[in-house]
Amino acid sequence: MLSRVTGLCTLILGLLCFWAANGLTSTGQPVMNRIIILATTTSTQDSGLLDLLVPLFQIKTSYVVKTIAVGTGQALAMGRRGDADVLLVHAPEEEKTFMAAGHGIKRQPFMYNDFVLVGPTSDPAKMAKAKSAAEALRQIAASKTLFLSRGDNSGTHILEKQLWMRAGIQPAERWHQQSGQGMGQTLIIASEKSAYTLTDRATYLKLKRRIELTILLEGDPELLNTYSLLQVNPLKSSKINSAGAQAFVDFMLAPETLDLIRTFGLEQYGQPLFHLLKK
């Protein structure tokens, strides 16, 4: 005989399944040509900028944006395969190669912030006095203090590799380790391990109160972090939503949006997280 409790449980399970199956129809996709796939770097998502801008764009234009936050390397690869319509990335050299190979139709650098070298307050490598990023890295290498690298071919990782090259150093595995994760996670690990790392300022500010790392070097022109919008070449595949990509770029570069970007984070951190490039 069914007891009341088990009967209730069976009923609840049955209702749940009914409700879930009912959802099958509502999980359908919006009309295809209203979908835009935006491949972007993790910093624009982790900083919260896209959470502010994308909903505004969707309301304004009734497009549906699928934001895929990956490293710049992966975002460019998605563009190369035609798996994304528009890219928001930050690795100028790689972007130029991407454009030269005909993968994109338009590249527009529009905002920047900067990278900073962070590390434990005690600064065991005494690199805070260094005059350039390259010098600072040489000092870290000389002291063999742990340096945590993203190691994921992201924009930050690409810049880091360029900096090591400029410093004339081949980092050794003993003190140069790879987290293989996004910027936020990498900062958390670096903090736990009292390691140095290279980070964009926006993600660092966002995490500052959670980690024990201080900015030890900033202001080197080499550490400029430029973000660009790239539209993927529609000739790559008939599925590319070229009109949608254009609409998104137009929205991002509209004066009202730029105003929002310019002041983003000002209230919370006392300084803006992104600056606009002068035209």
Partner: protein, 232 residues
């Protein structure tokens, strides 16, 4: 420890406060994983029974595939589904990448070997004489299968729980084929990863607490149904 307490308080606040964003994430997680579990049961129980009862060449090889599939990392399934569903992939024309449907497909593939393997083991464990007896009593082939499934129902419920537990808690496949898009494909596990990388550990902990409570409630309901069956 402070953080843990904060997380639990945050979880209660998010749930009782009726935060619409969190509520939508919870509903989506539940919906996607229930559909995936149900689909894997529909496909996996017959497959498991067929493998248990039939004899044919390559049967052992198939069973070994099912058994290894029970432990396949979700992120591997995610990558395979992604390669198929990307626009540049063979099924790209469907346009279902980065949608809840893509997550359902991946999760079904994750739960399918679990359900199949456990069903297979359960049916094989039944006394072979039962099968003969049922046939001797004049049951048709389908009637026999039905009775065997009923005999193995405790284990099949366990398979459902294992399958559901496997998919509601996986993050790799959901991240890869869903894309963690707010309002569309953000589920509890991917939201937890994102909040952690944002440094919002309290929110991440709150989401984990909700996930645990959810998984526990469903499993408890299934357990009650399963244990009722034990009574003589």
């Amino acid at each position: 420890m402070d953080l843990l307490w904060q997380g639990i308080k945050e979880a209660i606040r998010l749930l009782l406060g009726g935060d619409p964003e969190v509520f939508a994430i919870v509903l989506l997680s539940l919906r996607v994983s229930l559909i995936a579990t149900a689909t894997s049961l529909i496909l996996g129980v017959p497959t498991g029974m067929a493998l248990a009862l039939s004899r044919f060449g390559g049967r052992r090889f198939l069973i070994s595939l099912v058994n290894v599939g029970m432990g396949i990392p979700p992120v591997v399934v995610g990558l395979m589904v992604a390669i198929l569903l990307w626009r540049s992939g063979p099924l790209g024309f469907l346009g279902i990448m980065y949608s809840p449907l893509a997550i359902i497909i991946a999760q079904t593939l994750i739960a399918f070997p679990i359900v199949t393997g456990l069903t297979l083991a359960a049916v094989q464990q039944l006394n072979p004489k039962v099968r003969l007896q049922i046939l001797a009593l004049g049951a048709s082939r389908w009637q026999m299968l039905w009775i065997l499934a009923r005999e193995a129902r405790l284990s099949i419920l366990a398979a459902a729980m294992a399958g559901f537990g496997g998919v509601i808690s996986e993050v790799g496949a959901s991240m890869m084929v869903g894309g963690n898009i707010l309002g569309q494909t953000r589920v509890l596990t991917t939201a937890t990863v994102l909040e952690t990388s944002k440094g919002n550990f309290d929110v991440a902990l709150a989401l984990s607490t909700i996930l645990f409570a959810l998984a526990y409630t469903i499993t408890l309901a299934l357990t009650v149904v399963q244990q009722r069956e034990k009574a003589p």
